[in-house]
């Protein structure tokens, strides 16, 4: 199985509410979404973040928009107003998630590459 980084399969955006960081992961296609809901388990995500996420990880599936909401508790050093983190509001956590390495088959990797290219072509100005 080839290894693929999540950044090549999905987009992500993160934000904060207190000491909770949330990361929305948007799969580039339906079959990538179906692959990701099996891969992005709370245990895997928490393990990926090592010591950065001190609380529980919750995972919510949103098949209507092929997206997954990750909720990372106690991950922002106490929250924006009192954290020592430079990134006080967890805006960069989304790309930290995209560093996850997954075992994906070639077909999926190719599909993601085409989807990514299509997005640039479709909206490119």
């Amino acid at each position: 199985m080839p290894q693929v980084m999540l950044k090549d399969l999905a987009f992500a955006r993160s934000g904060d509410k207190g000491d909770v960081c949330n990361v929305g992961v948007m799969a580039m296609t339906r079959s990538i979404y179906e692959f990701l809901i099996k891969e992005l388990t709370p245990e895997r995500v928490k393990g990926h973040f090592k010591g950065m996420v001190k609380g529980d990880v919750e995972v919510y599936h949103m098949p209507n928009i092929d997206s997954i909401e990750l909720v990372l508790r106690r991950s922002l050093g106490g929250g924006a107003t009192c954290t020592l983190r430079f990134d006080q509001t967890g805006k960069s956590m989304c790309t930290a998630v995209l560093r996850m390495t997954l075992d994906a088959d070639d077909r999926l990797v190719q599909e993601a590459r085409e989807a990514s290219k299509a997005i640039l072509e479709r909206y490119g100005c």
Binding site: F11, A12, R13, G15, D16, K17, G18, D19, V20, N22, G24, M26, H48, F49, K50, G51, M52, E58, Y60, M62, P63, N64, I65, S67, E69, V71, R73, R74, G77, G78, G79, A80, T81, C82, L84, R85, F86, D87, K91, S92, T95, A96, R99, I119, L120, Y123, G124, C125
Partner: protein, 455 residues
């Protein structure tokens, strides 16, 4: 079918103003909602008000209204803003002066306040309510009670609707939920109320409000679409065209820059949400897992099939309390061996703290350009970096102790490895920590009035 067009004019205190003015000028919106309040903002505004009783609102409201009202009022566009902050009454008085000066005609201002529960926090507790911390699970606020500086409930759209009914052209509020600035006008226009008949449509309004309430964040700002966003330096703010059945089209100001597509809408649907089945707002609980998105044109995304549940009996309350001081320092080290120099400097400063015998509640040291943002998830490699920064941040109970961090970091400039560079020193800052909790809706003493300004 009746259609109401509502736009977003601001996402935070300090946001760009021009896109909001352009929206009023170039689009056919009926309402524009301005959010200025982040979680910490109310605590800062309360502090301003305690120093000066006629302060405590977002000062931006003055230049903002000077630019907005002459465009919005003649077109009949109604403006809603929570820039009243900790002092909506005084903000209204200031805006009244602007309206008279500008001679833009009669304007009715609806003023909504009463979100500040600090004056009667004790009474609510005496009645047996516990302010459980939603983040940490701590049962009540005993530990922080003597350090509380602010307690504001996130109130809903009820009084916005009432003042719109009374004919308000402009609504100025305190800590009204950002979301209610959009739900209020929609409920008013469509004649919806909080009976079960309208629950699904109010949930749709909550969803639409969520999608547009952070202004540029759904039109190409903070986006994975950054490469394909058109003229992002002239970004347009979002507009929702909402239909009476609850469906909506998300778009932006005509001719503006930025981008609206399925990805920017998804980005914002997912943004700052915990459980997407239950997006709790004071006016309703939205379920983001039923809706459908469809691109129906250039920069146009249709949202249908939105759903949800009726509003909760409690309101979110944000309690701010003093929590020590943060001291920071920063130095940069150049090639060659930049990372090794930064590591040397880290050891130096840690040893200095030992020599001085100071201990901090928390200390954090980052290598800027290496792992400051991704921390343990960032792989460390052994390349010879062009430059690496060392950022030292620590928290202490007193200002004096926090000052030690700042001062010792500056010594790195003269005592550190060769080439150490620095910018302007950073000031020590007082910390206001937040205690997120809930309060019974009925316990919050909200109020509103209509101020008629004859120009």
């Amino acid at each position: 079918m009746k259609q109401v067009n509502i736009g977003s004019g601001s996402a935070y205190w300090g946001d760009l103003l021009e896109p909001a003015v352009e929206m009023a000028d170039r689009s056919d919106v009926h309402y524009i909602g301005f959010d200025h309040l982040a979680e910490l903002t109310m605590a800062l505004l309360n502090r301003m008000k305690s120093k000066n009783p006629s302060g405590g609102y977002i000062p931006d409201i003055i230049p903002w209204m000077k630019k907005m009202l002459p465009v919005a009022v003649p077109k009949g566009i109604k403006v809603l803003t929570n820039a009243g902050g900790a002092n909506p009454e005084q903000a209204a008085v200031e805006v009244e002066k602007i309206i008279r000066d500008l001679k833009i005609g009669d304007v009715k201002i609806g003023v909504v306040s009463g979100d500040d529960i600090l004056p009667y926090l004790k009474e609510i507790r005496n009645e047996g309510w516990k302010f459980k911390n939603l983040d940490t699970g701590e049962e009540d606020i005993d530990r922080i009670e003597d350090r509380i500086v602010a307690a504001n409930a996130y109130i809903g759209a009820d009084l916005i609707i009432e003042e719109l009914k009374n004919g308000a052209d402009l609504i100025i509020t305190g800590r009204v939920s950002d979301n209610a600035l959009f739900v209020g006008p929609l409920m008013h226009e469509f004649g919806w109320n909080f009976t079960p008949e309208y629950t699904e449509r109010i949930a749709a309004a909550v969803t639409v409000g969520h999608i547009i309430e952070c202004a540029a964040c759904v039109t190409g700002g903070m986006s994975n679409m950054w490469r394909v966003s058109e003229r992002p330096w002239e970004i347009g703010y979002p507009i929702a065209e909402v239909y009476e059945n609850g469906d909506a089209v998300i778009t932006k100001t005509p001719e503006s820059g930025g981008i609206v597509n399925q990805w920017t809408v998804k980005e914002h649907l997912l943004y700052e949400v915990r459980d997407p089945h239950n997006y709790l707002m004071p006016d309703g609980i939205a379920d983001f897992t039923s809706l459908r998105l469809e691109e129906v044109g250039r920069n146009r995304v249709k949202v249908t099939n939105m759903s949800g549940k009726e509003r909760p009996d409690t309101l979110k309350v944000c309690i701010g309390f003093r929590d020590g001081y943060i001291g920071e320092g920063l130095a940069f080290f150049p090639w060659p061996n930049a990372l090794e120099k930064a590591q040397w400097a880290e050891k130096w400063i840690r040893e200095r703290f030992k020599v001085l015998g100071v201990r901090f509640d928390e200390l954090r040291i980052d290598y800027v350009g290496v792992n400051m943002l991704h921390d343990e998830v960032a792989p460390l490699d052994d390349r010879d970096y062009n430059e690496v920064g060392l950022r030292i941040a620590g928290k202490a109970k007193t200002r004096e102790e926090a000052e030690v961090i700042r001062r010792e970091a500056t010594h790195l400039w003269t005592m550190g490895p060769i080439g150490a560079s620095f910018g302007a020193p950073m000031n020590v800052r007082g910390v206001i920590a937040l205690w997120p909790s809930l309060v019974p809706r009925d316990a919050v003493r909200t109020e509103s009035r209509l101020l008629e300004v004859k120009a």
